[in-house]
């Protein structure tokens, strides 16, 4: 039985990516939306690492590291803003952020 073809990893990542997307689109809780974004980024990482494994080059892994860094940064700032918002508005629901429209 041959090793797992990379295509499967791609399928997996696509699936995880979609799950993340669904989370972003459907959940009201901003925190959970942020979590879903983390899922999307992980999907990307799966791709990268799978490729790097297949191509026998670590660049993909390094790329993945940077993605993780980015994820950390975004999470930090996002949560910071969320806290600021929560101070003013006492809510974490995405659809209650409706001051500006049209």
């Amino acid at each position: 039985m041959p090793p797992v073809p990379t295509a499967h990893y791609v399928f997996l990542s696509a699936a995880l990516f979609t799950i993340g997307v669904i989370g972003v689109l459907t959940r009201r809780n901003v925190i959970i939306i942020l979590i879903s974004i983390e899922l999307m980024l992980n999907a990307v990482n799966i791709n990268l690492v799978a490729f790097s494994n297949q191509l026998l080059s670590v660049n993909g892994q390094v790329f993945a590291i940077f993605v993780i860094v980015d994820a950390a940064a975004e999470a930090a700032v996002g949560l910071g803003i969320l806290i600021a918002l929560f101070r003013n508005k006492e809510t974490v629901q995405a659809d209650e952020m409706n001051l500006m429209k049209w």
Partner: protein, 171 residues
């Protein structure tokens, strides 16, 4: 026996990851969501191990689980989520959202599947992934030195920003 096991390993992990993901985005309580995120991330880390990316797996566990998820948990504790948990969980547009996401998945799948035969990746230059940590270090400090430096700035900004925004009053 040598290959069956890893294959099985992959599919189990895939199951864990996807399952974890689905559960994560369906939790009512944000804390649970974060916990289940940890499960997913662990699955991914396992996958890294399986893909001979030990260092990355370590990073995944340390940074992601040890850092980011904890950060999430802190915030969750910080902001009061009772009524958030009690309220409606899904935005009004969820059916549409899911439909579109499903469409996206289908299309991605379709294109990946359709191109099965054309579906190959660049051929390896006969490199190697072992010893993983050294190689990663070399890449990180040679080929990717610049992004690495930028990353430092990025984290700096994130840190300052988080402080500036989240602190109650600065003076």
């Amino acid at each position: 026996m040598q290959t069956v096991l890893p294959n099985a390993f992959f599919y189990i992990l895939a199951g864990v990851i996807l399952g974890g993901g689905v559960i994560t985005i369906t939790r009512r309580n944000a804390v649970h969501a974060a916990i289940w995120l940890v499960v997913t991330l662990l699955g991914v880390a396992g996958l890294y191990l399986h893909l001979n990316a030990e260092f990355l797996a370590a990073v995944q566990v340390l940074v992601y689980i040890g850092g980011i998820t904890v950060l999430f948990l802190f915030v969750i504790m910080l902001v009061n989520l009772e009524e958030a948990a009690s309220e409606r969980q899904y935005s009004g547009q969820w059916p549409l959202g899911i439909t579109c996401a499903a469409l996206l998945l289908i299309e991605l799948g379709y294109f990946i599947y359709k191109g099965q035969e054309a579906f190959y990746f660049a051929e390896s230059f006969g490199g190697t992934l072992q010893p993983n940590t050294e190689l990663v270090a070399l890449a990180l400090y040679r080929d990717y030195l610049l992004p690495f430096e930028i990353a430092s700035l990025l984290l700096l900004v994130a840190m300052v920003g988080a402080v500036v925004l989240a602190k109650k009053d600065l003076e």
